[in-house]
């Protein structure tokens, strides 16, 4: 599924960047932790959010046309509902993981 791989990629990117940040900690903690997660990570997250938003919009349109009686493919509608719901859950799960790992990073003391 496209959403799953994008979300997983975002999560893996976050982990990779966290690893990079950890390895640079001996040199200069503050700047690396602030600079390293910014670049590829934020773009991946933004792309993911846009995709989820698109899914929500198409779900909304599909529901409206189903309710008005124009479109009667109920399985298409149900699949789109599930997709949108799962994308939302996956995104919020990834988000909470990233927040937790970032907070762990900032909690590190020397």
């Amino acid at each position: 599924m496209i959403v799953k791989s994008v979300a997983m990629q975002a999560y893996q990117n976050a982990l990779k960047l966290q690893h990079n940040a950890q390895s640079k900690i001996g040199a200069n903690f503050k700047s690396s932790a602030a600079a390293a997660p910014q670049g590829g990570f934020m773009d991946a997250l933004k792309g993911n959010l846009e995709k989820v938003n698109d899914m929500q919009n198409s779900k909304s349109e599909l529901v409206t046309s189903f309710a008005a009686g124009k479109e009667q493919n109920v399985h298409e509608l149900m699949i789109s509902l599930q997709k949108a719901g799962l994308a939302m859950s996956m995104t919020s799960a990834v988000r909470s993981k990233i927040m937790a790992s970032y907070q762990e990073l900032t909690k590190m003391q020397f």
Binding site: K59, S60, E61, V63, T64, S65, F66, A67, A68, G69, K70, V74, L77, M78, L81, A84, G85, M88, S89, S92, A93, R95, S96
Partner: protein, 136 residues
């Protein structure tokens, strides 16, 4: 708070009401299957909704009666009276009640009603999940 309940939730809510009304009309047709001089009725709302939601290919139309749905539904117009004041038309048919057609209409209506209630509950569950996850 403005966009908490999206457009499709409002439309679904209204259509659930309309489907219930249609169920009543169909049941009264079926009850009167042997009544002499009874003309079967049906409730028509689908074309009106579709043209108002701009889901069909017709162009924009002038609104000649305040009770008509506005021919353009925009997002802010939903909050107004356009959708809640809509009354569907009852169409009178010709001679006799056709029992099989009425049973078919009732089956269709029931299926659509069940599907719409499932959609509503799924929407609200999704909203609740988003709210709970966001508050963590």
């Amino acid at each position: 708070m403005k966009a908490l309940f999206e457009d499709h939730i409002l439309v679904t809510e209204k259509v659930l009401d309309l489907r219930l009304q249609r169920q009543n009309v169909v049941m009264s047709n079926i009850a009167n299957v042997t009544t002499r001089n009874y003309k079967p009725r049906k409730l028509a709302f689908e074309e009106d909704l579709q043209s108002a939601l701009r889901l069909d290919a017709r162009g924009k139309m002038a609104r000649t009666d305040p009770k008509h749905l506005p021919s353009e539904f925009d997002v802010s117009g939903f909050k107004g009276k356009g959708l809640t004041d809509y009354k569907p038309r009852v169409v009178y048919g010709e001679d006799v009640v056709d029992l099989d057609k009425e049973m078919g209409a009732m089956a269709k209506n029931t299926l659509m009603y069940n599907a719409l209630t499932d959609i509503m509950s799924k929407n609200f569950t999704g909203l609740q999940t988003a709210i709970q996850e966001g508050s963590k």
